[in-house]
Amino acid sequence: MDGEELTEQETALYDRQIRVWGPNAQRRLTKSHILVSGIKGTVAEFCKNIVLAGVGSVTLMDDRLVNEEALNANFLIPPDENAYTGKTVAEICCDSLRDFNPMVHVSVEKGDLSTFGAEFFEKFDVVVIGYGTRVIKKSVNEQCRKLSKRVAFYTVDCRDSCGEIFVDLQNYKYTKKKLEETVECELNYPSFQEAISVPWKPIPRRTAKLYFAMREVFEESEGRKHGECSLLDRAKVLEIKKKLCEANSVSESHIPDNLLERLITGHTEFPPACAIVGGILAQEVIKAVSGKGDPLKNFFYFDAQDGKGVMEDISDSFTS
């Protein structure tokens, strides 16, 4: 159905994973184009995973010049000042990733994500935003949604030893095997804006606290560069917490203060959490591209403190 067969070289290289997801899924992977913006530790892990899996192409965007901070948790950047001076994070990461799998086309795109139009995003099957303001995430998500083809949209954010993944597959149909038969499934995803502005009151109490905590931290960090929050903002975040909890008529005890503190003071990513969240994100992208397996809907949270990796389906279905 997907045209040409895998080459002998591909079959040999991808042998062990073809045994997991089959040759058809592998063919679809080799034809997929992935855009990745914002490359910190978690996204570096993600990129490594999809390049190894053998996607068609990966386009990297991150115009930051490499500095000490960018090195943290990012094994794609060798700590050699002579090699990285004057280069952007995307350029350095591109070199490393090409090396991992010569069969994947890895390239760099410069510029500000918020200035690109729909025709740019149309070239991709998957868009992943590693870091960026809520405004940018929202606008890219809307651009993707306007296109006639479905572009899978993901955001990922790791702070301290916590991580969040958001997924928007719009209207997604896939097949899965139930016992011996194959069943058709259909999922409808809310947009990024819809998913983050669901009223809190009807959301079940057992929902991951991280969902609420992350929303507050974003409220506070709006307009700042990633990682520029500090303990000084604690008072401000607590103020926002009070405001949001009141507006949503939920008790303030809903969101533990120490969790908020970890999120705003954790400047550096925790590498094991990056490996875990970057691994889950890659698995989800592989599922969405190959059409195999139940995809995540629509948030995933990991916290190394309790060790749980939990899926949360947060849409306005709670209200209806």
């Binding site: 067969e5 895998l6 002998e8 079959t11 040999a12 290289l13 991808y14 042998d15 062990r16 994973q17 073809i18 045994r19 997991v20 997801w21 040759p23 530790g41 892990e45 490594k48 995973n49 190894l52 899996a53 053998g54 948790a73 094994f75 794609l76 950047i77 060798p78 700590p79 090396d99 991992f100 799998n101 010569p102 970890r262 003071t265 925790f270 590498p271 094991p272 959490a273 990056c274 490996a275 875990i276 970057g278 691994g279 889950i280 890659a282 698995q283 592989i286 397996g293 139940d294 995540l296 995933f300 990991f302 190394a304 309790d306 060790g307 749980k308 990796g309 939990v310 899926m311 949360e312």
Partner: protein, 626 residues
């Protein structure tokens, strides 16, 4: 937060990684990024092409080099100032003894086989060093923490035994493709190309078993000047035609079974294959023995393609011809190897022809290779996630945060919304023969079993001992080591061939043996119980060890014993319910269904090559049985 404190603790820690494969590459990277600065790594393997899709520290140019060394060099490129020491060696080597293990603060396993895992577990217990153990299969994975006296050891729970099939299912009544593979690989391939002196059940036993075995033996002998193609056809007709006819004559066998169809070469192949023969001679030998293939000469390119009966028959004959034409010297001592292309082609073809005969769906070379080579599914993402989880547990172990230790399961389908499920570790099992010295019981026929049987089938295969020593009271019956003098070696060798009851210090009903492994610093007692008879199908070893593994007697319950297959399924599931209910957690109880899910995942073996034949299938079956 105590981040500063934590960083200096990691910096000071000395850790040992065992395995630099799928999990190992990810683990070494994550350890280095997390701030570990003194890492030792042992791996005996060299790099292969099929590793490159996930073992991201390796490149095509590294194929053939030591995994441990290349992994070290690769990580030093992005963390140049840390200390990584690599050992290209087997972790079971005597230099890695308890004293060696004692220098580390924690041991991290990323292994691919049960044997090495058990060995490391014992050394960790002997050296009293905590162990973080891991494994993955496809999207499933698990990480567990083993700290002496605090949590269970790796062997507190029964591990699924390597899968075996009743002999008659393989020789006479296959119902699954895997049965045909086992037949093609362990019987036919071994008979034709392996050690001629080995026992082999290839020929079906007909009811009138007087039929001389001498006669059939000769079929497999190739006369000096016999044409190879004629010889190949003779073998073909014998195993796919004559043997099936013989089996059909046992009417009793086929009462409730589908009757197989004998297949003769003249029905499927043209009179002469000389044409193919000519071309195959030209196009084959280029890249050494492991690359010799019949596929190009037969116009077969895609290993995922299904071959029909004729194609399989051509591959069978041509592969056999090529073995004699190009690899004659190896015949007589070949063993099946998944990286030997011609062997894989031959086994695929033979299994498919047999499958056709028994009405079992045929499989592609790609699939057949996976089954024959026990290739376990592996993806980079699960290994990366598991490596992250290992480091999180390792940090807790260093901080001695006992209450926070978790075993974590990576699930393919969420269970109660969880994709990563942490569970409280179990307490040590008080009846574990490894960490709590509980005596084992061995039922054995002391008049008919030799000491050699006990050493091979129990001490080595079941107890996983590497350098065993066996004592009966004060009398030393057997011992292995470099420092033994010739007289002792001769004595021990003589003992090996004696029946237990005839040993210098006779081992009879009620005897207590002490079995030790000095390297593993493990010692256990075995109570001997004499028993006359053993069920050939259920207890093919002719002895039953309990306190170590499931007792076959209780397995029958969950299976309808209408045919052999169910008995096998029951064996797979036996690590299930009974054992689970015996276990206790340190605290907090989880819902029952989680526990079962966890059990299923835990039985998974790992990354590259394992003994159990298809872990995914095992766990599925298990669910159904429950």
């Amino acid at each position: 937060m105590d981040t500063q404190h934590q960083q200096s603790a990691l910096k000071a820690a000395k850790v040992l990684m065992v395995g630099a494969g799928g999990i190992g590459c990810e683990l070494l990277k994550t350890l280095a990024l997390s701030g570990f600065e003194d890492i030792h790594i042992i791996d005996m393997d060299t790099i292969e092409v099929s590793n490159l899709n996930r073992q991201f520290l390796f490149r095509r140019s590294h194929v053939g080099q030591s995994k441990a060394k290349v992994a070290r060099d690769a990580v030093l490129r992005f963390r140049p100032h840390i200390n990584i020491r690599s050992y290209h060696a087997n972790v079971k080597n005597p230099e890695f003894d308890a004293d060696f293990f004692k220098q580390f603060d924690v041991i991290l396993n990323g292994l691919d086989n049960l044997d090495a895992r058990r060995h490391v577990n014992r050394l960790c217990l002997a050296a009293d060093v905590p162990l973080v153990e891991s494994g993955t299969t496809g999207f499933l994975g698990q990480v567990t923490v083993h700290v002496k006296g605090k949590t269970e050891c790796y062997e507190c729970q029964t591990k699924p035994a390597p899968k075996t099939y009743p002999v008659c299912t393989i020789t006479s009544t296959p119902t699954k493709f895997v049965h045909c593979i086992v037949w093609a690989k362990d019987l036919l391939f071994a008979k034709l190309f392996g050690d001629k002196n080995q026992d082999n059940d290839l020929n079906v036993r007909s009811n009138n078993s007087a039929s001389s075995s001498k006669e059939t033996e000769d079929v497999f002998e190739r006369a000096e000047d016999e044409d190879i193609e004629q010889y190949g056809r003779k073998i073909y007709d014998h195993v796919f035609g004559y043997n099936i006819e013989t089996a059909l004559s046992n009417e009793e066998t086929w009462k409730n079974r589908r009757r197989p169809r004998p297949i003769y070469s003249k029905e499927v192949l043209p009179e002469s294959l000389t044409q193919q023969n000519g071309s195959s001679q030209n196009s084959s030998v280029t890249d050494g023995d492991s690359m010799i293939s019949v596929m190009p000469s037969l116009g077969l390119k895609n290993p995922q393609e299904l071959w029909g009966l004729t194609q399989n028959s051509l591959v069978f004959i041509e592969a056999l011809k090529l073995f004699f034409a190009k690899r004659k010297k190896e015949i007589g001592h070949l063993t099946f190897d998944k990286d030997d292309q011609l062997a894989v082609e031959f086994v695929t073809a033979a299994a498919n022809i047999r499958a056709e005969s028994f009405g079992i769906p045929l499989h592609s070379l790609f699939e057949a290779k996976g089954i024959a080579g026990n290739i376990v599914h592996a993806v980079a993402t699960t290994n990366a996630i598991v490596a992250g989880l290992i480091v999180i547990e390792a940090i807790k172990v260093l901080k001695k945060d006992v209450d926070k230790y978790r075993m974590t399961y990576c699930l393919e389908h969420p269970s109660r919304k969880l994709l990563l499920m942490p569970v409280q570790p179990f307490e040590p099992n008080p009846s574990c023969y490894v960490c709590s010295k509980t005596p084992l019981v061995l039922e054995i026929n002391t008049q008919k079993s030799k000491l050699r049987d006990l050493v091979d089938k129990i001490v080595k295969a079941k107890l996983g001992m590497n350098l065993p020593l066996i004592m009966h009271g004060a009398s030393l019956l057997y011992e292995v080591g470099d420092d033994l003098d010739d007289i002792m070696v001769a004595n021990y060798n003589a003992n090996l061939e004696k029946h237990l009851s005839e040993l210098p210090s006779p081992v009879v009903n009620g005897s207590i043996l002490t079995v030790e492994d000095l390297q593993q610093e493990l010692s256990c007692k075995i109570n001997i119980k004499h028993r006359e008879e053993f069920d050939e199908e259920k207890e093919p070893e002719g002895m039953v060890l309990s306190g170590w593994t499931q007792s076959p007697a209780t397995n029958g319950e969950s299976a309808s014993t209408s045919n052999n297959e169910n008995a096998i399924d029951a064996t797979d599931s036996s690590s299930g319910p009974e054992i689970v209910t015996k276990k206790r957690r340190l605290s907090e109880t989880k819902p029952e269904n989680h526990k079962k899910e966890a059990e299923n995942v835990e039985s998974e073996e790992d990354d590259d090559l394992v003994e159990i034949e298809n872990p995914m299938m095992v766990s599925k079956k298990k669910k159904r049985v429950e």
